[in-house]
Symmetry: C2
Subunit: 280 residues, 2 copies
């Protein structure tokens, strides 16, 4: 069972909540004349979102109640309802924040080998997955009771941010539909792989990080094999890579595999177009 | 706008619905003593499901009403409610049928090169995607108003059926977690690719069919590069392939790409572990 320790600061759990005005309309006084109170309206709203995000990260949305959020925030149930019409609204708002934070992690300076940039981004992404595990899983698995057009929009936005960042780093002038599709498919792969990892955590996170980057390199190569116009881009990509980076390691692993007995001959036969012995 | 032409047989649209008993309890007489009526209880139920599936295939669930289903089935609204408590129940039942049909399309005899078996399966899968387009898209895009734990269960079952069929064809005695993950990721790739294709239909379906199979071959190869225990399996896989099949064509496309100027040297440098000129 996930911990129920609230993440809010200790002061916010005190019974003194005189700074909050219950039952006040949304357009009411925003408290400019109350300099001594503990939390302003904006601060309280932010605190509720932060507490909700923490709880929704630890448990699927159906296992988090408004009472849980109120207790973790050191607030009353009516106070929570004063700020948000219900759990769904609070869920969607905390999700928007999480999505925004995740999208921010995709930003990376355009310096150094491309696979190493992606490797750093994937490190930040997987760190996010790890720290928001159950909430991330409930969200992406779909069919959650809290899934809605609003939550889908957040997911779509995060996927779009990932897609746009990758294309910006690839710096291909007009990316073809095939290249865009390869990027989107790889993003789906990263999601599935993260979900699987959350369920069993069977390998070290660093291994996942490396594998995902190498799968991107493979997807890029496959796309270039289909679209000769991309060959020059791929040449540029490989030229920027280092032997000890994710691409260099992948190339060596594949070279070793294709040197294995039984593979070299068969693949060479397929490459030359002749029929391999076993198929006769 | 999608066509509203009902798929039900012309007879079912006649005003004569004397065979149906409105307002009867679920445990009531199942009509064994009424041999002359047009549709038995079971037949009517099946007809409603078939009509609903047809409508849900053409439009997202939120754009299909019980009235639409009743009209297309030549039935009254109360009659539909007699068989199903509401649209969601009818949606989930029609989805279960569709899922069952789709899972059936994954079955393929264990004869011939593996990539050609998968190519045939993908032909049947893409044919399904094409004929159930909008419904398939609404379902997989998630966040649909009709998404529920019930619909998720159907999607999960179809994915599991695909996964199990592929592993059965690969015939690896105890598939590693890495191999299982590669299969699941590839299934996600097939879903994303189908959704993209539905949105723009920019390439012929046969091209997609070939690309998806080749991506599977690439995923299998990448997994073997990481897991030396799979090298023998991969050798067996390649040995069973034919030059004019999806794998043979992929091998030749990749061989041509790696022979391109700028790529051969750079990749060879990465393979040998030396630093390529551009990285200095």
């Amino acid at each position: 069972m996930a911990s129920r320790t609230p993440s809010a600061s200790p002061t916010s759990a005190r019974p003194d909540r005189s700074g909050d005005v219950h039952g006040r309309g949304r357009s009411g006084d925003r408290g400019a004349e109350r300099p001594r109170r503990r939390l302003s309206v904006d601060e309280r709203r932010e605190q509720l979102i932060a507490v909700a995000l923490e709880l929704f990260s630890r448990r699927p949305p159906e296992e988090v109640s408004i009472d849980d959020i109120a207790a973790a925030a050191g607030a009353s149930r009516p106070l929570v309802y004063h700020y948000f019409p219900g759990k769904q609204a609070l869920y969607e708002e905390s999700l928007r924040r999480a999505g925004h934070e995740l999208a921010g992690r995709f930003e990376e300076p355009a310096d150094g080998p491309l696979s190493e940039r992606l490797y750093r981004v994937m490190g930040r992404y997987l760190d996010f997955v790890q720290s928001h595990g159950p909430g991330f899983a409930a969200l992406l698995r779909g069919g959650s009771v809290a899934a809605s057009p609003g939550t889908s929009a957040v997911i779509d936005e995060v996927r779009r941010a990932a897609h746009d960042q990758i294309l910006a780093h690839l710096a291909v002038p007009s990316p073809s539909p095939g290249l865009r599709l390869a990027v989107r498919s790889w993003i789906a792969n990263a999601e599935i792989t993260s979900l699987e990892w959350l369920a069993d955590r069977s390998v070290p996170l660093e291994e996942l990080q490396l594998h995902l980057v190498q799968e991107f390199v493979a997807a890029l190569t496959l796309t270039a094999a289909r679209e000769p116009a991309l060959a020059a881009e791929l040449a540029g990509f490989f030229a920027g890579e280092r032997p000890d980076g994710p691409t260099g390691r992948l190339v060596r692993d594949l070279a070793a595999l294709f040197a294995a007995p039984g593979i070299a001959d068969t693949v060479a036969a397929l490459a030359s177009g002749s029929v391999p012995p076993a198929a006769l």
